[in-house]
């Protein structure tokens, strides 16, 4: 039975619960918008990295170079799209 629950996965799960609880502090505690958003950015990206490496085994095969390239490319385009849109549509008009 024990072999079915590898420590790496259990720790990954515990850590993801901790990250969720930290993110929840933003809702529970009274804090500034900037601080709250900083916490959320850190916890969300840490959570994503955790899933990618621990659970999705992104780096385990010999194709890991191509796999990480594809994921980073997707992330870069997504981040540029989001911040480019914010720049053009929101921040420019404040």
């Amino acid at each position: 039975m024990k072999e079915l629950f590898p420590i790496k996965h259990v720790m990954g799960f515990v850590f993801s619960l901790i990250l969720t609880s930290v993110a929840l502090l933003v809702y529970i505690l009274d804090m500034s918008f900037a601080l709250g958003l900083t916490i959320l950015l850190i916890t969300a990206f840490a959570q994503a990295a955790l899933q990618l490496v621990v659970f999705m085994h992104a780096g385990e095969s010999e194709d890991k170079g191509a796999i990480y390239t594809s994921v980073y490319y997707g992330i870069i385009i997504a981040v540029l799209t989001v911040f480019g849109t914010l720049l053009a549509m929101i921040w420019g008009y404040v």
Binding site: L37, Q47, M56, V71, A78
Partner: protein, 201 residues
């Protein structure tokens, strides 16, 4: 698949050239999905203030169902990880158990989401109410549609594993399904953080 093409030093799902390429191809698809959700988030951040005569996010979001959905999806991501781990040990029964738990958690997630959507409509926040409710329901709905699709996909794969046992092909499909499921959890984390928590701050 020809025996001579098999590499026994790798887990079953990587053991054939075709299997390796399928996994790489799926990662490229995930890269495209990241960009898809990027565009949805870009539109959401642009339109979230455009509430018109409708409610704002802070007025309609409820923390309890959102927290339940988050915990369900996080746990299901953990159990499918255990499922793949069991598969690599050759423990087909344990793997099936973990897959079933994962899909049940996924179904529970969806029922909370359906409840949530009904609640929004009762609060007067339908998809046509304002630019904000349109993009909110489109973003949540795109994620929910992915989970719904994943439920059916997961069931089909389980049927194949039961019928054919663990072969390079079925192991490969199961592993790729696990990648998809983990990815949906990642997307949800961003929705949880930047739609709900940010909206309720």
């Amino acid at each position: 698949m020809l025996e001579m093409n098999k590499d026994n030093t790798q887990p079953l799902e990587y053991s054939t050239e075709q299997g390796r390429m399928n996994i790489l191809g799926f990662w490229i698809f995930i890269g495209a999905e990241i960009m898809l959700f990027g565009t949805l988030f870009a539109s959401y951040f642009t339109l979230e203030g455009r509430t018109g005569a409708g409610p704002t996010g802070a007025e309609i979001f409820e923390i309890s169902p959102v927290l339940a959905e988050t915990l369900l999806l996080l746990t299901s991501s953990f159990t499918i990880g255990l499922g793949v781990h069991a598969m690599r040990l050759g423990r087909q029964k344990a793997m099936m158990t973990f897959f079933i738990i994962t899909l049940v958690l996924g179904a529970a997630f969806l029922s909370f989401e359906v409840y949530e959507f009904i609640h929004y409509v009762h609060e007067g926040a339908g998809i046509q109410t304002s630019a904000f409710t349109s993009i909110l329901l489109t973003t949540l709905g795109t994620h929910g549609a992915h989970v719904t699709f994943g439920l059916f996909w997961g069931i089909m794969i389980m049927i194949q594993v039961i019928k054919r046992g663990l072969t390079p092909e079925t192991a490969n499909k199961s592993f790729i399904f696990s990648l998809y499921w983990h990815f949906l959890d990642v997307v949800w984390i961003f929705i949880f953080s930047f739609v709900y928590l940010k909206g309720m701050m």
